[in-house]
């Protein structure tokens, strides 16, 4: 080799230069990674080792008007698994199934939750019983990807008694997640599924917290608590309702499990719903944390339809309870007064084209409006209907808001059925020559025909009868009471109507067997024809008749006679008024 000192030192310089370039290049690469991109890599390192474990917020407690608890939270346990893939989740659950019971459905549900949000621990048992948790806790070392956490569990102390209005909670479904208004929900979270739980979801939900567990490269939990500051969940505010749990319990006990009925009690002065119950009922506690399949099947195949709310969803012909609507429309039109008689006395029926029967086949004789209400004379109201004519009858019903929902603060309220107008509706339905306006008027005037109302909407109408003609919007949770005038009758006319209704629950009236000692009850029975099945029984009323403080609506499917419903209603009223602290004013 050429080993002249000059050559060597030249080559050494080249070597030093190359070393220097290499050093600077490496250093700048490290400077770029460690200093310039530090925050990016730091975030990745944190993401590597921390797994978020959601901390469910306790849902808001629901109270009745006296501070009694309707819905609360009990400590429960949720079991989750950390998994890098769906397959490893399946494998881990298969391993666990040797020590605790796990069904294939639970595995698939967990995989679905994992797919929705792979970085969150996949919930495998949303509501694990204590003995299962105890077994898992013992074997925790063998299953280092397991996360067991206490989580609030919804509980309804009165269970079936409150199901009709409180609803229930459950895990948010994929369909619910797809809804754009629920974008901030994550799989595995609880959501209100019905009743107040759903109506007031935003208020009851609270804010989810989060804690972090530290995991190693294989997803095993290395450190649990204190790995990183946790964010505590924010419990939701409590919800205060107008429900009177004492009265609600009483209603439930009156209906028992054998009747198929709906009952609603409202304070007519502000619309406060005191009690609301649909029988038969179900136990919402069994719905929390997943409805057991056989219970769900049982409820859905039950011919009495426990899941169908007979207060806000059921639509039935209002029958004779409607006669107060006919009366109010006619009186407002100035066609009849309480003392007026109709041209034809009741002989048990009325001929108009065909023969229209009165429920009393022997006839009521020559009655005025007051007596016609007391005894529910169909023939009298046929003639009022004819006098009004179909146009005014339909318009009057619409003005009484018989085509609108009551606006109660519950989801899934059904809209009542009532003709939108006098002519077109029937022309379209039966053809221009297929119907006679008079016949339709006759049917409508006694609450039959093209008219199906919900119990809650009829109750709203009766709050107007019980007060000054203004209907109160039913409210379970205290909002701003909203009362809308639907009737323009004089005070004297209102008092007269109430007196006539008081006559119904007297020795002269159709509900004489429902009288209670010490309270004047005003109301109207109804028996809705339901061929070929037994008739439905209605009673709508309020008490005390002089200054009503409670409106009660009762509907009994296949109840056959209105007084069946009336007997229930008057008992509810008596219970409420006797229990009430305000002195009961009785003038009669």
């Amino acid at each position: 080799m050429s080993y002249h000192p000059h050559d060597v030192s030249r080559r050494a310089s080249v070597a030093r230069l190359l070393l220097g370039i290499g050093f600077v290049a490496l250093m700048s690469a490290f400077f770029r990674a460690q200093v310039m991109r530090n925050s990016e890599f730091l975030a990745q390192a944190e993401q590597n080792r921390f797994r978020e474990v959601p901390l469910a917020a306790p849902r808001g407690i629901i109270y009745d008007r006296n501070g009694r608890i309707i819905a609360e939270n009990l400590p429960g346990y949720a079991v989750s698994l950390l998994s890098p893939s769906a397959d490893s989740l399946r494998a881990a659950m298969r391993r666990l199934s040797s020590i605790i019971p796990i069904t294939d459905d639970q595995v698939e549900a967990a995989v679905r939750r994992w797919r929705k949000n792979p970085t969150r621990p996949a919930v495998i048992l949303p509501d694990a019983p204590f003995d299962v948790v105890a077994v898992l806790e013992e074997r925790r070392v063998e299953n280092p990807t397991l996360i067991i956490q206490s989580t609030p569990k919804r509980y309804y102390p009165d269970g079936p008694a409150v199901a009709s209005f409180v609803g229930y909670t459950g895990e948010v479904t994929e369909r619910e997640l797809a809804d754009s208004t629920r974008r901030d929900y994550k799989p595995g979270q609880q959501i209100g599924k019905g009743g107040l739980e759903r109506q007031y979801e935003a208020q009851l939900r609270g804010t989810e917290g989060v804690r972090y567990v530290e995991v190693d490269a294989r997803g095993r939990v290395v450190r649990d608590a204190g790995a990183r500051a946790e964010r505590a969940p924010i419990p939701a505010r409590a919800l205060r309702t107008n429900i009177d749990m004492d009265l609600q319990q009483y209603v439930v006990s009156l209906l028992g499990d054998s009747l198929r009925a709906g009952v609603v009690a409202i304070d007519p002065n502000d619309g406060a719903v005191l009690a609301l119950h649909s029988a038969p009922t179900y136990d919402p506690n069994r719905f929390v944390g997943g409805i057991p399949a056989e219970y769900w099947r049982e409820l859905n195949t039950d011919p009495r339809r426990p899941l169908y709310n007979k207060v806000i969803q059921g639509r039935y012909p209002p029958a004779s309870t409607w006669k107060l609507a006919t009366s109010a429309i006619a009186m407002e039109a100035g066609l009849v007064s309480l003392d007026d008689h109709m041209p034809q006395p009741c002989t048990g029926g009325y001929r108009y084209g065909r023969y229209f029967r009165c429920w009393n086949h022997t006839g009521h004789g020559d009655v005025n409006l007051r007596q016609a209400i007391e005894q529910s004379c169909d023939v009298y109201f046929y003639q009022v209907g004819l006098k009004l004519g179909l146009t005014r009858l339909v318009a009057g019903g619409i003005k009484l808001k018989m085509r609108e929902r009551s606006g109660i603060d519950l989801p899934n309220e059904t809209q009542p059925q009532y003709p939108p107008d006098a002519m077109n509706y029937f022309n379209e339905r039966y053809g221009a020559r297929g119907w006679v306006p008079g016949s339709v008027s006759l049917n409508l005037s006694i609450g039959q025909g093209e008219n199906a109302q919900t119990l809650i909407n009829m109750a709203r109408f009766y709050t107007a009868l019980a007060t000054d003609g203004r209907a109160a919007r039913p409210e379970i949770v205290t909002r701003n009471p909203e009362r809308v005038r639907i009737m323009n009758l004089t005070d004297a006319q209102m008092v007269g109507l109430r007196l006539a209704m008081a006559g119904v629950v007297s020795s002269r009236g159709t509900a004489n067997s429902a009288r209670v000692e010490g309270i004047t009850v005003a109301g109207k029975t109804g028996t809705a024809q339901n061929p070929p099945n037994p008739d439905h029984a209605w009673f709508m009323g309020f008490a005390p008749a002089e200054r009503p403080r409670i409106v009660v609506g009762v509907f009994v499917e296949y109840g056959e006679h209105g007084y069946v419903a009336a007997r229930i209603a008057t008992k509810v009223m008596a219970r409420y008024l006797k229990a009430a602290t305000a002195p009961v004013v009785t003038t009669e």
Binding site: M1, V8, A45
Partner: protein, 414 residues
């Protein structure tokens, strides 16, 4: 003439690097899930003591003695490499390769580590014996053979990393012996052709450049034509060769270009290593406190990826310290080789420097995905007895060459 004063700066740099390295091996064992790595630092410490002893012995051997010894050691090395192929075994991540000499189930050592030194010695002997540096390709057959035989034996193991080190040594020593850089480029051209063959346009551009080079460099016309022909051949066979590669080998190369294409498997190591280093910041997460390492996100943290632990726990400051120590070592080696008494010693010093340099560049570069992953250790840092021994043997030889070299009295001013 022999100086009595040893090369204290070289010794201090090497000691500092070893101390730093053993501390990092200790830290590498500090994981949340305790594994066998936890106690390796003690083994490394024992190896360090043995290596210091070996270095001392090496430093006592005169260069003349090394010169005499070289052919025997070289032949012995070749025998051991052949033996390794016959009765060798794998270890760790390279369990399927045959890089360990195993006798009676006990792993004796990795002959490849010894080969790095003996090839340097033998190549130095061959190059130093010439009056003039090789001026043409034909004259290079002898040096090429010295490196080529052990290189083939090592590639058969297979150990791509050590193979790359040999090539680095070969080129560096040719450069130091005074071979013209244009000739070096011509030698390297087939390899460049091979890489660029994957893009027709790039290869075309390279080929034009090569033609221009051969035209300018007319004295070696015959070689020039031969090189062009070889380039054409490699350019053509490259795609065929690519098809012949095992899928995992193809993947490795593709992942080098973009680790995210296989983030969970082949790209995982390099991504996690980058995250570890990048998350270290200026000062790092603290000695033994690296989360990526503690939770086993950094793979092979005690061997191939130990520099990721340095980056994560000691930050940019620690990286700067480590790389500066290496730079100081290399500059010292350049100095020693430029002041050596004779060409043979000078070439040995530069060859040993080249060996370290390739290790450092490849290993450190790999942790930031600047280099493809080849499983090559970091001198003085990575856990491993043979390599520690080899590194300190090199230090011992350098000490001796430094002692025999010129520059008496200049020791005070480094």
């Amino acid at each position: 003439m022999t100086r009595r004063i040893p090369d204290i700066p070289l010794l201090l740099i090497a000691l500092a690097l070893s101390a730093f390295g053993i501390a990092m091996v200790y830290s590498a064992g500090q994981t949340d899930t305790v594994s066998f790595v936890a106690t390796l630092w003690r083994t490394q410490l024992v190896w360090f003591v043995i290596a210091i002893g070996a270095a001392f012995v090496a430093s006592r051997a005169s260069v003349r003695f090394l010169d005499w010894l070289t052919p025997f050691v070289y032949v012995l090395t070749l025998c051991m490499l052949v033996l390794t192929l016959v009765i060798g075994g794998g270890a760790g991540t390279a369990a399927s390769s045959k890089s360990w000499l195993v006798i009676g189930g006990i792993r004796i050592g990795q002959p490849a580590e010894l080969a790095k030194i003996t090839v340097v010695l033998m190549l130095a002997r061959v190059l130093a014996n010439r009056r003039e540096p090789p001026k043409s390709l034909l004259e290079l057959w002898h040096p090429a053979l010295v490196v080529g035989i052990p290189w083939i034996l090592i590639m058969l193991q297979p150990d791509l990393g050590t193979g790359i080190v040999f090539i680095g040594i070969f080129f560096a020593m040719l450069f130091w012996s005074g071979v013209n850089w244009r000739l070096l480029l011509l030698i390297a051209s087939p390899a460049i052709s091979l890489v660029l063959a994957f893009s027709t346009r790039l290869w075309g551009a390279w080929f034009l450049l090569l033609l221009a080079l051969v035209w300018i460099y007319r004295p070696y016309l015959v070689e020039g034509i031969a090189v062009v022909c070889i380039n054409v051949v490699t350019g053509v066979v490259a795609p065929i060769l690519w098809e012949k590669l095992a899928p995992y080998q193809q993947k490795r190369l593709l992942v080098f270009l973009d680790p995210s294409i296989d983030a969970q498997a082949s790209g995982y190591h390099v991504i996690q290593s980058q995250v570890a280093i990048g998350s270290g910041g200026w000062l790092g997460k603290g000695f033994t406190q690296g989360t990526q390492k503690r939770l086993n996100f950094v793979p092979e943290q005690q061997t191939d990826f130990i520099f990721a632990v340095v980056g994560e726990e000691l930050g940019f400051v620690g990286v700067t310290l480590a790389l500066t120590l290496f730079l100081a070592l290399f500059l010292r080696a350049v100095r020693i080789s430029s002041r050596a008494n004779d060409p043979y010693a000078s070439l040995i010093a530069f060859g040993l420097l080249a060996s370290w340099l390739v290790h450092v560049i490849e290993n450190v570069g790999m942790t930031l995905n600047l280099m493809p992953i080849t499983g090559i250790p970091l001198p003085f840092f990575s856990y491993g007895g043979s390599f520690m021994l080899a590194s300190w043997l090199s230090v011992g030889v350098l000490m001796r060459i430094s002692r025999e070299g010129r520059g008496r009295g200049e020791l005070a001013s480094i």
